[in-house]
């Protein structure tokens, strides 16, 4: 057969074409593109400032009351020392609790992880359309491998998430984001690695769920169900140690918490605890490995029915 001569026989052929198809839909529609960025930015601008705990406990609000001064008969020198102590107390509390003196920086990292969560959720839904509009069947009748069809979905969701998350980081800087003392440019790659792992895991999971439904309502319901626990039982807004016991239990196993804490070490903390970082990578990596394998196997089995 003559046509066999000019075709690629690679098992992975079509992977980039299918991935790029998804990406094109997204970057060629600027409105959608901008809208997906809007939500985390609004959260960051509103919540990041409204919940600025640093300013709540911060220096300007704390002055030593006059009766304290007269009762303790403080000298001006003592007053200055005490005032100095109080003006640092906010920062000290912030540093101790959040690992940075800037709450918005703490939250921005949480938002980066969320963007990854939301983007993987939404881009996973495209598979429902592909099934319903017949594209999936058409692809299944071509020699492109089933695994490649699924992998392209996972990959495009992952690439999209990483890109959107980077934009959040860039936008957070003018909003008051402060890099930690331990930050170097190389750490950005570490952040990408975290995002890559978590997105692979999450999108494999969502695609395995979505590929089974012909109606968009089903994945919507599943997403809503998963959304809240994944969001609030994580270290997005508060460190896990500050949570009530039951919430802490969920947050401790939530891979998003590990992703956030790991990214915080790389981006905003003043020093990096490498054994912690290794643990965080290991946990997120294991999560990604298990979910990607399970997700792809489940989807693959469905396609081979």
């Amino acid at each position: 057969m003559s046509k066999m001569n000019n075709v690629s026989k690679s098992k992975l052929h079509g992977l980039w074409a299918l991935t790029n198809r998804e990406l094109k839909k997204w970057y060629k529609t600027p409105v959608v593109f901008i809208l997906t960025l809007l939500q985390p930015i609004i959260w960051l601008g509103l919540l990041g400032n409204a919940l600025n705990l640093g300013s709540l406990v911060g220096s300007s609000s704390l002055t030593i009351p006059p009766q304290v001064i007269t009762e303790l008969q403080l000298t001006p020198a003592q007053i200055t020392v005490l005032q100095g102590f109080f003006s640092n107390i906010g920062d000290t509390i912030m540093q101790g609790t959040f690992g940075t003196t800037s709450y918005i920086s703490f939250m921005a990292v949480g938002m980066i992880a969320f963007t990854a969560l939301f983007t993987t959720m939404f881009s996973g839904m495209s598979v429902v359309w592909d099934r319903r509009l017949g594209f999936l069947n058409k692809a299944l009748s071509t020699p492109v491998s089933r695994a490649v069809i699924i992998l392209s979905k996972v990959l495009s969701a992952t690439l999209r998430s990483i890109f959107q998350a980077s934009i959040i980081l860039i936008i957070a800087v003018p909003l008051g984001f402060q890099f930690g003392a331990a930050f170097t440019a190389v750490n950005i790659l570490g952040v990408f690695a975290f995002l890559f792992l978590i997105c692979m895991g999450l999108s494999s999971l969502f695609i395995a769920i979505n590929i089974r439904s012909t109606r968009i309502e089903t994945p919507m319901a599943v997403m809503n169900l998963l959304n809240l626990p994944l969001t609030f039982a994580s270290s997005a807004f508060f460190p896990i140690e500050q949570m009530p016991g039951w919430l802490q239990a969920v947050a401790t196993i939530n891979p998003l918490s590990y992703t956030m804490n790991g990214m915080r070490q790389l981006l905003i903390n003043s020093s990096i605890d490498y054994s912690q970082l290794a643990l965080q990578y290991a946990y997120v990596g294991l999560f990604a490995l298990v979910l990607t394998t399970v997700g792809i196997v489940l989807s693959w089995r469905f396609l081979n029915k």
């Binding site: 057969m1 052929h13 094109k24 839909k25 060629k28 017949g134 009748s141 020699p143």
Partner: protein
């Protein structure tokens, strides 16, 4: 390899353990012929195609395409076939050209080759002027043509067309018929198509299988099927008031003559040949023919005979189904 492009043996698909969509069907499609699957909604046409194009696994039975087993040699099958699905599957957000190249990539066709072929195919289906427009802006007919181009990108030996003219207007339907005939004639392609439309099956197909409730009811060429109903009907009236039944019965090809209130209903194969013979014989005997009409049985009657349903019902529900599908597709935006 036998000279059959497609062979199916006891091919069966059961959904969810109980719904028998395709029920032990046997058929073969010869190399280079246009084979039509004709049946009402839910008959199992699409399910049969989906098994043959390796999208669905048969529950039972087997089939082969160009000698390749659809279960065991599915890669070879996929390289040899092209598919024009029932739905519009082209990506609305991409241009026509991008869509064709995407199809080419799914076959792993190298870019230099696929670009050239894409241009040729766009020319063939007369979409060159619109190739850089998003598919969103295409009309239904243009989308069908684009699907056709996508289905041809790998130069398939066997092309599957699932209701290729569903929802098209009369001109576009005629144009699509011409493409289909051309593919057979110019490229010697084997075509397997499904349709609701009897006149379509009649005009295009070398052979037809009528399928209903997952079973093949009858297979044959349109002519054979129509002849199985007893041939054409010639109605004759003469001026004189005499019985000509015996005279007509002696004429070649005539099968049956019935006198019906003043005229004669004559069943015959090849009516257009028989009719002049009848006129001639009657004249020789000194009779004057006052009226003669020739009715060819349509597949409509065949369909009615074999399924007990009028095809018109099926056609109507086909159109409303199409409308539903379009609404569904639009809701996406």
């Amino acid at each position: 390899m036998s000279n059959n492009a497609i062979e199916a043996e006891a091919l069966t698909k059961v959904f969810n353990g109980s719904l028998v969509a395709v029920d032990h069907i046997d058929f073969s499609v010869r190399n280079g012929e246009i084979f039509g699957f004709l049946g009402p909604n839910g008959a199992g046409k699409t399910t049969t195609i989906n098994m043959l194009i390796t999208v669905l696994k048969p529950t039972e039975g087997k089939a082969s395409i160009l000698g390749y087993d659809i279960a065991k040699q599915n890669t070879q099958v996929r390289y040899s076939i092209g598919v024009v699905p029932q739905e519009y599957t082209a990506d609305e957000d991409l241009t026509g050209y991008e869509n064709i190249l995407l199809c080419a990539d799914l076959y792993g066709i190298q870019r230099e080759v696929s670009k050239k072929r894409a241009s040729e195919l766009l020319e063939l289906v007369e979409l060159t002027a619109f190739k850089d427009k998003k598919v969103q802006t295409y009309s239904g007919g243009m989308r069908r043509r684009l699907e056709l181009a996508c289905g041809l990108i790998n130069r398939p030996k066997v092309l599957f067309l699932d209701e290729p003219t569903l929802g098209l207007d009369v001109q576009t339907r005629a144009a699509t018929w011409n493409y289909i005939k051309m593919l057979k004639k110019e490229f010697g392609m084997t075509l397997f198509m499904t349709t609701h439309y009897l006149e379509e099956a009649d005009a295009l197909c070398d052979r037809i299988a009528i399928i209903d409730h997952g079973k093949i009811i009858v297979v044959g060429s349109p002519t054979e099927l129509k002849d199985s109903l007893g041939g054409d009907i010639i109605t004759v009236a003469i001026k004189e008031d005499v019985d000509i039944t015996e005279l007509v019965e002696r004429i070649n090809h005539v099968k049956e003559v019935k006198k019906e209130n003043g005229s004669y209903r004559i069943k015959s194969e090849n009516g257009e040949i028989t009719a002049p013979l009848i006129i001639e014989s009657l004249r020789k005997e000194g009779h004057v023919v006052t009226r003669l009409s020739l009715t060819k049985p349509t597949l409509n009657e065949v369909y009615l005979q074999y399924t007990g349903k009028s095809m018109r019902d099926a056609e109507e529900s086909g159109d409303s189904l199409y409308a539903k599908r379009m609404i569904m597709a639009r809701r996406r935006h």
